[in-house]
Subunit: 343 residues, 2 copies
């Protein structure tokens, strides 16, 4: 029991909660039987879902009952003040009091970030949290941070994001020596904001511990030029959403193209299975789980509109981070950094 990975789930956050949360937990247990869940939410709603599950039993879960929840449109400040007994807050508190390794919620992002910062506090040596996620590229998968936690970042913040992102890529993407790039408007050394150039100088000095590739541009993100894209939360958010919007437009135009004549409809019929594969490859559910890095605990935000498959993936990310010691690795690497500073 002690070797179990303990994950607290906010059962009341997300459009289809608690159904997809409990079903997601069921799926996750099937894939990683060493997980133990703290299911936080309304017992009356959760119990029947557990009964209907295939793998959830008294050995792998415990219910923490509450009827209160954070609403999707609550302001973070409101949730902070009045949300002490909500399923989201109680789930986070299980991480800060050591009962769980990590928390997963599909609820209100702003509230989750605000409560996590307050309850978990920052990881020593990290000044600001960053939102990280991964996405498909021409070469496989990459991860990017920050996706919107900080609209402005100084050079130190960016260096810390690079350190955390690199460890995240090692654990979640299973890469031995992930490459790291700083998002800029050109690859030349003199390009971009002062803080970017300063961060690049520091990261170049860390070449013994990190494969830093210098500056990259927006089109390098999906090209897979680097495994970890480091940027401030404004640019990261804009880049991510611009890419999502383009994918939506492309899919829309393609659907229209297939519908245009009887020939294209037959053509579509013949291509259906590979188009489905393509869709799966780009499936946001596979890339579900934006992770808050930099806090003194593991907190994963699942999309509000996710289903049990997507929620199980988000749980998988949190469990992997706990299993492979994400926080310990960050603390160690920062130690190395500070030792180098001291020289």
């Amino acid at each position: 029991m002690t070797s179990k990975i303990k994950i607290a789930l906010d059962c009341m956050g997300g459009d289809d909660a608690p159904t997809m949360v409990v079903r997601g937990a069921d799926l996750a247990i099937e894939r990683q039987p060493d997980i133990f869940f703290h299911l936080v939410g309304n017992q009356e709603e959760i119990m029947p879902l557990i009964k209907a599950s295939r793998h959830l039993d008294s050995n792998n879960h415990k219910i923490i009952h509450t009827q209160k929840k954070v609403a999707a449109d609550d302001k973070p400040s409101v949730a902070l003040r009045g949300g002490r007994d909500t399923s989201m807050r109680l789930a986070i508190d299980l991480v800060s009091d050591g009962s769980a390794h990590g928390v997963v919620s599909a609820g209100n992002t702003g509230a989750l970030m605000a409560m996590s910062k307050l309850s978990l506090r920052m990881c020593p040596g990290i000044e600001r949290p960053a939102i990280a996620s991964f996405f498909p590229t021409l070469k496989g998968e990459s991860c990017m941070l920050d996706l919107g936690a900080n609209i402005e970042c100084d050079a130190n913040n960016l260096v810390q994001f690079a350190v955390m992102g690199e460890i995240f890529a090692r654990i979640v993407l299973g890469l031995k020596n992930p490459s790291v790039g700083l998002l800029n408007v050109g690859s030349e050394e003199q390009k971009g904001h002062e803080e970017l150039r300063e961060a690049a100088t520091t990261l170049r000095e860390l070449s013994s511990v990190m494969k830093f590739m210098g500056f990259i541009e927006g089109d390098d993100i999906t090209a897979g030029t680097v495994d970890v894209v480091v940027t401030d939360g404004f640019s990261g958010n804009v880049a991510l959403k611009a890419a999502e919007g383009t994918a939506i437009m492309f899919t829309h135009f393609l659907r229209g193209a297939f519908q245009s004549t009887i020939f294209t409809k037959i053509g579509y019929f013949l291509c259906k299975s590979v188009i489905r594969q393509l869709r799966e490859r780009m499936d946001p559910r596979r890339y579900n789980g934006a992770v808050f890095l930099g806090l003194n605990g593991i907190a994963v935000k699942s999309h509000g509109g996710t289903d049990s498959e997507g929620f199980a993936n988000a749980i998988g990310v949190a469990a992997d981070m706990a299993r492979y010691g994400f926080l310990e690795k960050v603390r160690n690497e920062l130690g190395v950094l500070h030792d180098q500073d001291g020289k």
Copy 2:
């Protein structure tokens, strides 16, 4: 002759210059016979191309001979110092001395911007130039600025970009009352950088002259939520390239999908014509022509790798801006702005 739209062409800039430049001019004359060209470049290379053209004759062009050109990898500072007799600089100078309404070049972007700023100077009332371009959306076409001329912008810069972008959309997209949005990381009023909130406050006060829609997010760009997307050059560049990269990835995956089995190959054969239409719809050549707005003259940058079709489109943009009085409109609107300020 006096009513002709006079465009100076840098015949030596771009991968396939001067061939695609002269052929592009030929195509442009076919579409808009009221254009007169100043063809700046090596006479010996240009002459045979003119002879082979269908529409270029002594009534619609004049050659300005020079053998010097700006190299694709010249630093802007080098081009500025040593580039006085280059085809690019001579073409720009034809605009500043009043011989031409606008200049089009497919050469070195940095050099074109630096030389245009020096030779044309700023449009009175505009503090900084912006790079604008247009792109496909779910609803049709939109334009965005700044795409990389300024990595940092204050609120005044953004307001001026909004004014210029709105006029640009009226002329080039043919819209009567284009809507304008400020790119941000959320649509709520309190979101984003200080300068964005300040710019939004000013733009809201201009509702009598401009359809300002407030803040938009990265996925609104291709959704076509607004006709004019206003942003600083860093975010604009990142958004544009992230979108381009996503389109490239999508096309690549789709090509792979069609090649996977004999059925999908037949399917592709049946869908070929609509896929081609789709590709044309997303064709960068249609969207060729990044325009430098804010200078006291019209300067259009064509992609370096463009062909004659793309170059003709870039000429079309410059000619339309001259024909419909882009600069006069900007000066008038800024007058209205300043009158409102005075109240």
